[in-house]
Symmetry: C2
Subunit: 211 residues, 2 copies
DNA sequence: TTTATAATCTAATCTGGATTTAATTAATTT
DNA sequence: AAATTAATTAAATCCAGATTAGATTATAAA
C-alpha cells in the first residue's frame, strides 16, 4: 500500500500563521476563511482539509501561541535562578515573543472571547466534545501560564527578595501590561521588543524590591 | 403641528447598556441584533429606529464608555494636586469605573478592533463618511485619555516626584494593567474594585517613587 | 379630536460566508 | 505501471443574521 503525504504545498503551520495575521488585522468576525486561504494561495474549501472548521482553526492558532509561550517560560521557572532573575527573564522572553510575532500575541489577547461562545464548532458529532475539551485544556494551560508568574512572585516574597504584595493581583498586573504590548507595539516605533521588555522589567521589579 | 417624542419605551442608553452586556458575554461577532433587542424587550427591527445599523450601535457603545472615562479623569488632571495624588485618583476612578461596569470596560478593550474593519457601516450613503469621522474622533479621544496619564507621569518626573522612566511606556503599562482588570475582574472574587485599585496604585507609585 | 411623529412590530428580503460534494491532480510505495 | 492517499479546487448548498418594508399603536401638541 502506498502511504506518506505529498510533500508539497502549504503546511498546517503556514495556515496558522496566516490566520493569526488576518485575525490580528481584522478580528475573528471580520476574518473570512477565504481571507485566510488567500494568504497561503489556497481556496477556502482547501482549509477544510487541514482543519475541521473555522472554530477549530481559531482554536489551533491560540493553542499554538500559548504552547510556545509556555515552552519558553517554563524552563526559566524551573531553573535555579533567584526570583528576581527569573522574573526578569520571564518578562523578557514573553515580551519579546509578543513583539516578535504580534499577530499571535494579539490573537491570544483578543480572540479568547470568541472561544467561549461555543457557537458552531461541530454540530452533533463528537467534534463538539473534542472542541470543548481542547478549549478547557487551553484555559487550564492559560492558568498554568499565569500561575508561573504568580508563584515566582510568591517565592520571591518568601525569600525576602520582594516586598509584600498580593501575588495574584501583581501577576495579573504584569500580564496585563505585557499582553497590552501586543496591542500597541509598532515595529517601526521608538523601541524594539528588547527595550520594551527592559522597561517593563524595570517598572515591576523596582516596585517589588522597594522597601 | 404635533411634535415631541413619545415618552414611553426604551431609551437609547438602555440599549447601549444592553449591547455592552451582550458584547462582553459574546463578543461582537457572536452578538446578534436580536440578542441585544431581547435584553430590552424589543425586536431586532426596532433597534434600527434608534441606530443606523449594527456598526453604529457598537460605535455608540464604545464612544459612550470612553466619554465617561474621560469625564471622570479629566477634572483630576486639571486639579492642582501633585502628580502622585493625581495618578492615585486617576487609577482609582478608572479601575472603579471598569469594575463597576465590566461590560463597557471589556467592550472598550476588545471591540476596538471591530471598529477598524470598516466593513459595512453604510454603503454608499453619507453614513460611511460619518462613521469614519466618528471613529477617527474616537481614536483621538483615546489618545487623549492616554495622554493624560502620560503627561501626569511626565510632570511628576519634572518636579522630581518620580524617578526617570519613559512616560509613554510607563503610561501604556499602567493602562494595560488597568484595562486587563476588566478582563479578569469577578464581582464575586476576593477583592472589590476599590481594593484592586489600591493595589494597582501601590504597584505603580511604589515603582515611580523608588530611588 | 385631529394630526404628526415616535416607537414598535411582523413579515419579507438579501447576502455574505461557512461548509459540502464531487472531481482532479500530485506524490509515494511496491 | 498500479494503487492508494494527500492536497486542492470549482461549484453547490445552506442558513443565520442584518437590513428593509409596510403596517400598527401610542403620545403629545394644536
Amino acid at each position: 500500500m502506498a502511504r506518506k503525504p505529498a510533500e508539497q504545498s502549504v503546511h498546517r503551520d503556514d495556515i496558522l500563521q496566516a490566520a493569526a495575521d488576518v485575525l490580528q488585522e481584522q478580528g475573528y468576525e471580520a476574518t473570512t476563511m477565504k481571507d485566510i486561504a488567500a494568504r497561503v494561495n489556497l481556496t477556502a474549501a482547501s482549509l477544510y482539509h487541514h482543519f475541521k472548521n473555522k472554530d477549530f482553526l481559531l482554536l489551533a492558532v491560540i493553542e499554538r501561541g500559548l504552547q510556545e509561550a509556555i515552552k519558553i517560560i517554563e524552563p526559566i521557572v524551573q531553573s535555579d535562578l533567584n526570583a528576581s532573575e527569573k522574573l526578569t527573564d520571564m518578562v523578557h522572553t514573553h515580551v519579546e515573543a509578543i513583539t516578535g510575532n504580534p499577530s499571535v500575541g494579539a490573537a491570544l489577547v483578543f480572540e479568547i472571547k470568541s472561544l467561549v461562545s461555543v457557537t458552531t464548532a461541530g454540530r452533533g458529532s463528537g467534534d463538539e466534545l473534542e472542541y470543548i475539551e481542547r478549549r478547557d485544556k487551553f484555559f487550564k494551560d492559560r492558568d498554568y501560564f499565569e500561575r508561573m508568574f504568580r508563584e515566582t512572585i510568591k517565592s520571591g516574597i518568601a525569600t525576602g527578595e520582594f516586598r509584600q504584595v498580593d501575588p495574584a493581583i501583581f501577576a495579573k498586573s504584569m500580564l496585563g501590561a505585557q499582553n497590552w504590548v501586543g496591542v500597541w507595539y509598532n515595529p517601526n516605533g521608538r523601541f524594539n521588543g528588547q527595550e520594551i521588555a527592559e522597561m517593563l522589567v524595570d517598572t515591576f521589579l523596582t516596585s517589588l524590591k522597594a522597601r
